[in-house]
């Protein structure tokens, strides 16, 4: 029996298994257990949630392998970990550890200001952030098997997540009204590979699974992103910076499944305690915005 491993279908396929689910940031194995109990489809193992990365300042890097391994040992669901944009050795290390997905993430300090990782070279799949269709298709061209709209991580303000999801999904709708001969000019305008522009038009969606991220803090935020048309959500600081993480995590999972049922969203949103305090995105200085990282 001939076995093929590390194929694009397998990379993309794991993301298809995440659809309709919630991926949660966790910084300890105890958090990971709470996330799994709440019904997370995967966890993102990291040393600090984005809100704390903002507070700490300095250079944010890949997490300690010991922490990642401890979390991998704690839960049965897939474990993701972040590397810096362009830092292919951090990615090699994460692959060697056996993580299930690598997030080449703008939340960490970029290691390369012009290039992302050549993700085709890896057996482990990658998820990358995007603000618009061009950025999404560039990352897929480099081998990303899953996308997430960036939003603005660590703020608890959903406005940028909405902006980026609307941009990607709106451009896909626009693409479908175009004539074939307009596609090359459009590919040039958005800086995307022509073949992927054609494929996206034909599919009427991105060629890989697309989650929302960056600022989702409540069950209603998660359902909002789902109704806008994403395939699932990442919740970073929103859970473990809130008053009752276990209940909030479970409620966000339930609202993501029943995103079209306002009565259920109302029911699960009752008495969740304090949401994360958050920072309005408009109060951030330009240099404090993470979403602008990525080329």
């Amino acid at each position: 029996m001939e076995k093929e491993v590390g194929t694009f279908a397998l990379k993309k396929g794991l993301a298809q298994m995440f659809k309709g689910g919630v991926i949660m940031d966790v910084v300890t194995s105890e958090h990971a257990r709470i996330a799994e109990q709440a019904g997370a489809v995967a966890v993102m193992a990291l040393e600090r949630v984005p809100a704390d990365i903002r507070v700490a300042g300095g250079v944010a890097r890949m997490s300690d392998p010991a922490l990642i391994l401890e979390i991998m040992d704690t839960v049965t669901i897939p474990v993701m970990a972040k590397c810096r944009i362009g830092h292919f050795v951090e990615a090699q290390v994460l692959e060697a550890l056996g993580v299930d997905y690598i997030d080449e993430s703008e939340v960490l300090t970029p290691a390369d200001e012009a290039h992302h990782i050549d993700k085709h070279l890896f057996k482990v799949p990658f998820v990358c952030g995007c603000r618009n269709l061009g950025e999404a298709l560039r990352r897929i061209g480099e081998g990303a098997a899953m996308m997430r709209t960036k939003g603005e991580a660590g703020t608890g303000d959903v406005v940028e997540a909405v902006r980026h999801a609307r941009s990607v999904l709106g451009d896909i709708r626009r693409l479908q009204t175009m004539a074939q001969e307009e596609l090359m000019a459009f590919a040039k305008e958005i800086g995307a590979p022509y073949e992927l522009v054609c494929e996206t038009r034909e599919l009427g969606r991105l060629p890989v699974v697309n989650f929302a991220a960056g600022g989702i803090a409540t069950p209603a935020d998660a359902a909002l992103m789902m109704q806008l048309g994403v395939d699932g959500v990442f919740v970073g600081s929103g859970i473990f910076k809130s008053g009752d993480p276990a209940r909030r995590a479970k409620a966000i999972v339930e609202a993501t499944t029943h995103y079209k049922e306002p009565k259920i969203i109302a029911e699960v949103s009752r008495g969740l305690g304090e949401a994360m305090v958050g920072i309005g995105v408009t109060q951030l200085a330009e240099g404090e915005r993470l979403a602008v990282r990525g080329w």
Partner: protein, 193 residues
């Protein structure tokens, strides 16, 4: 013919595409009332712990057991785990199929693989079925009433990856991630029977 797809979480939309292609109407099931009027049900791939917890919270466990007692039900990967009586973990299961599952039997994502299987019950049985195994489970053991439909060959000789018990079908892999619709046609033949 109307086939429901359990849509709590996972790749239910991929199943719907193939089911429609082979001539079935489909609908999504997230609440017990949505089982009414269905002729069969598919439980998709996804995270079995997530699907199980949501099924408990929204009161689906007993309605799904009753449905499986009288209608064909097919679980792929997480769906197969959910149908089983034992996953060797502490998680909610329907327990309607007499199979024991080993979860993540091949390892982590870097060990996920594609391979050709021989599946004699499908149409055109000489043609291998190209199967996609993602963090896949294995059927570690099957009870007396269970018919083994496909096994892995060399390397994992004899390990069970597809099984049928009456009107219930379990596959450790994902026919919904391929363009080969023979497994979906086979399931429809169980629904029609």
């Amino acid at each position: 013919m109307r086939i429901g797809v359990l849509a709590l979480q996972g790749d239910f939309a991929e199943h719907q595409i193939l089911l429609r292609r082979v001539g079935a109407e489909t609908s999504q099931v997230r609440l017990p009332a949505e089982l009414d009027g269905l002729d069969g049900l598919v439980i998709p791939g996804g995270e079995s712990t997530t699907i199980g917890k949501l099924a408990v919270t929204f009161g689906l466990i007993e309605p799904l057991r009753r449905f499986a007692a009288s209608h064909p039900v097919w679980g792929t990967c997480a769906g197969a785990i959910f149908l089983s009586k034992d996953s060797q973990r502490d998680q909610p299961l329907l327990g309607v199929m007499d199979i024991t599952i080993t979860r993540n039997a091949f390892g982590r994502q870097v060990d996920s693989f594609e391979a050709d299987l021989l599946v004699p019950v499908l149409t055109d049985p000489e043609r291998p079925f190209h199967a996609v195994f993602i963090r896949a489970p294995l059927i570690a053991s099957a009870g007396k009433g269970v018919e083994v439909i496909s096994k892995l060959s060399d390397g994992h000789a004899g390990q069970i990856v597809a099984a049928r018990q009456g009107n219930m079908l379990a596959t450790a892999f994902h026919p919904e991630l391929t363009n080969d619709d023979r497994f979906h046609r086979y399931f429809l033949s169980l629904v029609k029977a």
